[in-house]
């Protein structure tokens, strides 16, 4: 119970953090952020990808025609601590030398409660699996906002080899959040 509330606080603080520590650029088309939350030693921490490209077609009038094509540079993972980043990019986790890009591809969204859902395929560290995501759509004058999240198991994608297969100190569940600004056509 307390966990839910705390993780919300973490999301807010990571948003505040992103605002407080601007990076040189956010090359997502139209702008946005892509962050992930994982659990280390019982505490949620947040990291982000600084380089990704999201090509998204979405029309709320016809969600079934939607298309998501997202490419993420795994080497742009940043947890704001260089030692951990090194391990994260190393062969035991993302193995960025071998798998420099992770992709998420999906077609055909469906209305789901107040927002939308998509069952797309995530390819990460050479493993492809369906990862459902949910998002909300906020139309704007010049750009529309798409904000959502997905929950996945890092071990499903072999992220965490050797001793890191244990989930005692680094949790298996990872929440990925995205907040994207799409230029209106």
């Amino acid at each position: 119970m307390g966990r839910t509330r705390l993780s919300i606080a973490i999301v807010l603080s990571s948003a505040a953090l992103a605002a407080a520590l601007p990076r040189a650029s956010h090359p997502a088309e139209g702008g946005g952020s892509l962050t992930f939350e994982a659990i280390q030693a019982g505490a949620v921490f947040t990291g982000r990808f600084d380089r990704f490209r999201a090509d998204i077609d979405f029309d709320p009038a016809d969600p079934s025609a939607c298309r998501f094509d997202v490419r993420i540079e795994t080497a742009s993972a940043d947890t704001l601590e260089s030692q951990r980043d090194e391990v994260l990019k190393g062969p035991d986790f993302f193995w960025v030398q071998q798998h420099p890009v992770a992709t998420y591809a999906g077609r055909g969204c469906r209305a789901d409660g107040k927002g939308y859902a998509l069952d797309g395929e995530l390819t990460l560290r050479g493993v492809t699996r369906i990862v459902p995501l949910r998002f909300t759509y906020a139309p704007g004058e010049n750009a529309a906002g798409i904000e959502g999240s997905a929950r996945l198991s890092r071990l499903d994608f072999s992220v965490g080899q050797g001793e890191w297969q244990s989930t005692e100190w680094v949790g298996d569940a990872v929440t990925v959040r995205f907040d994207l600004l799409l230029p209106a056509d």
Binding site: I10, L21, A41, F45, E168
Partner: protein, 183 residues
């Protein structure tokens, strides 16, 4: 033995808290040294996590101890020169201050490194500062510097207690021990 302070002895509760902190500081030093030797990996993460949980425990006990100290009048010390009284007051409050400063700088260090602190995996604590590797480096120096200060003050504290026991023979040390008495 009474739980609270009497005219010539600390109560069982403040005695227990005093000695628990002594043991926990020893544990902290050992955990910190162990972590220092390890490369970044599961084991280091585990050791540092315990170091943080124990540190938060010390912070909590420090809060209890200071509250107790302010609410429950400590036993009167044996007669001694005024400068010794002053020195003892300074050392005691310095030690209390370090019992707060050490865990707080450690906690800030963790926040600065974007490793939020969990107390034994039961409770996630809020971050005290924004992540920043430069700030983390500074805090690490401060944290270690404070430990040296803690060693110095604790050394003075022990030497003074030994002097009272073996030079002055005034039984001061029994104020903090559940056994032995001066009556």
């Amino acid at each position: 033995m009474p739980l609270t302070n009497t005219a010539d002895r600390y109560g069982l509760v403040p005695q227990l808290l005093h000695w628990i902190v002594v043991i926990l500081i020893g544990v902290q030093y050992w955990l910190a040294e162990t972590a220092e030797e390890l490369p970044l990996g599961m084991e280091k993460l585990a050791v540092l996590t315990r170091h943080k949980s124990v540190g938060i425990t010390i912070l909590f006990i420090a809060l209890l101890r200071v509250t107790w100290r302010l609410l429950d009048r400590p036993p009167a010390p044996p007669p001694m020169p005024a400068w010794q009284r002053t020195a003892s007051t300074l050392v005691h409050w310095g030690l209390y201050a370090l019992l707060f400063a050490m865990p707080l700088t450690g906690w800030m260090m963790s926040s600065a490194a974007n490793y939020p602190v969990s107390w034994f995996g039961l409770l996630q604590l809020p971050d005290l500062v924004m992540p920043s590797e430069a700030l983390k480096e500074v805090l690490e120096e401060v944290h270690e510097g404070l430990f040296v200060a803690l060693l110095c003050l604790a050394g003075l504290h022990v030497l003074a207690a030994l002097k009272h026991q073996f030079v002055d023979r005034d039984g001061l040390i029994t104020r903090m021990l559940p056994w032995g008495g001066r009556d």
